[in-house]
């Protein structure tokens, strides 16, 4: 028995959504085309909404009654338990698309499994999120095909983005006491069980995009314990500075 496993599990889901949302929001006004500026920020907005629902639920489960803003703006780097993949820098458009493909494929499988969660509020968030995330995966898939099987330059960039992002995918499927407990309670899937579906889809899309699925060698992890990559602190500083400089500020 892990005390508060359901709360930690929900917080992991929420942090993944919020951090990825913020990364995508950084594309606002900078994407290669207007359509993709709108697409990436729309996806960011979906993720933000998903995060809000999950933070609200976490506050009930961990008994702290914290607000959504407390979770987003008042925690330090070590208190965020998102996976490392979502925090990786945007890089060029190819890097963002590869990260989106890897993340949205994982999240879609996870939401689908979570629709039958024994935790009512989590399953309600999942039922909405599954529909939204299927659009996110379509978007990433379309671009992966176009860029991978595109020009020499776009292919080269996709290859290097894939090499840079791939090592961080191992952590998505790591199992630990919290994940096993959540699985046993029926709160949500042990991430390890999502790997076959994820790998099948990614393998097919990469193949169609004339890209080669990398071999796993270096497999960094630690995000679920609050140990992050260097870029995350800078992202948090940017995300939190307004709220911390002007406590209680509202829009």
């Amino acid at each position: 028995m892990v005390a508060g496993a359901a709360a930690v599990y929900a917080l992991r889901l929420a942090d993944d959504c919020l951090v990825l949302s913020h990364r995508l929001a950084q594309w606002s006004s900078r994407a290669p085309t207007l359509e993709d500026d709108v697409a990436l920020t729309n996806i960011a907005l979906d993720l933000l909404g998903q995060a809000r629902g999950l933070y609200a639920r976490t506050a009930e489960l961990d008994g702290t009654g914290r607000s959504e803003d407390d979770y987003a703006f008042m925690r330090g780097e070590r208190e965020f338990i998102n996976c490392l993949l979502v925090e990786q820098e945007n890089g060029d458009f190819a890097a963002t698309i590869v990260r989106q493909l890897l993340c949205s494929t994982f999240q879609l499988a996870q939401w689908q499994a979570l629709t039958t969660s024994t935790d009512g509020p989590v399953s309600a968030v999942a039922a909405k999120a599954a529909k939204e995330t299927s659009y996110h995966r379509d978007h990433a898939t379309d671009w992966t095909l176009r860029l991978g099987d595109g020009t020499d330059e776009s292919h080269r960039r996709m290859e290097s983005a894939l090499a840079a992002m791939w090592p961080f995918t191992a952590e998505l499927f790591e199992s630990d006491a919290v994940a096993r407990e959540a699985g046993a309670l029926g709160v949500g899937p042990d991430p390890a069980t999502l790997r076959p579906e994820w790998e099948g889809y990614i393998r097919r899309v990469l193949g169609d995009a004339t890209l080669v699925m990398p071999e796993s060698t270096w497999t960094p992890s630690g995000g679920r314990e609050g140990l992050h990559t260097e870029c995350f602190g800078y992202m948090l500083a940017e995300m939190q500075h307004l709220h911390r400089s002007f406590p209680g500020v509202t829009w």
């Binding site: 907005l45 909404g49 998903q50 009512g120 039922a127 909405k128 659009y135």
Partner: protein
């Protein structure tokens, strides 16, 4: 008219902040109204998309309108389950949407992947249209172009 009916008609008539031609009843955002013995009013609303930025405004609008009508003890709750789908949109809503220049969502348990039913251009009625981008000016809209008249138009996408 009972209190529930009265509140339902007041709250339901509130325009959507992003598509003011439609009311929240047209969109299926207003889900339930309850009044208990002590006169306390509960209103349930549901978001179209998880992150819909209009929802906070809608909540405030509902609260204010119901109060102004004399029901001072009111709580507006946001409910996620069962998840909203475009099937919740009323027939009147679809007609208004089209008149407003937005192609309404296609109906009848259609599948999200293969797009089999044509989307009609709201300007010239042609069914020869194609999607330009799946993500439009709001979360619930895509952008399409008509092959007959050349106009681009928003499409309230099926969800």
């Amino acid at each position: 008219m009972t209190a529930v009916e009265e509140i339902r008609s007041i709250a339901g008539a509130i325009p959507d902040p992003e598509m003011p031609a439609l009311t929240i009843a047209d969109l299926g955002i207003l889900r339930d109204v309850r009044v208990d013995a002590s006169g306390h009013v509960d209103v349930d609303i549901t978001p179209t998309y998880s992150g819909c930025p209009a929802l906070d405004t809608i909540r405030e609008d509902v609260e204010r309108c119901v109060r102004d009508q004399g029901f001072t003890d009111v709580t507006v709750r946001i409910v996620l389950s069962p998840a909203w789908t475009t099937e919740w949109m009323s027939e009147a809503g679809r007609v208004k949407l089209r008149a407003y220049g937005i192609a309404p969502p296609r109906q009848h348990g259609f599948d999200l992947t293969p797009l089999t039913i044509a989307v009609q251009c709201p300007r010239c009625d042609s069914t020869r249209t194609h999607e330009l981008t799946h993500f439009g000016s709001t979360q619930c809209q895509a952008v399409r172009q008509c092959d007959a008249c050349g106009e681009t138009f928003p499409h309230f996408k099926e969800h």
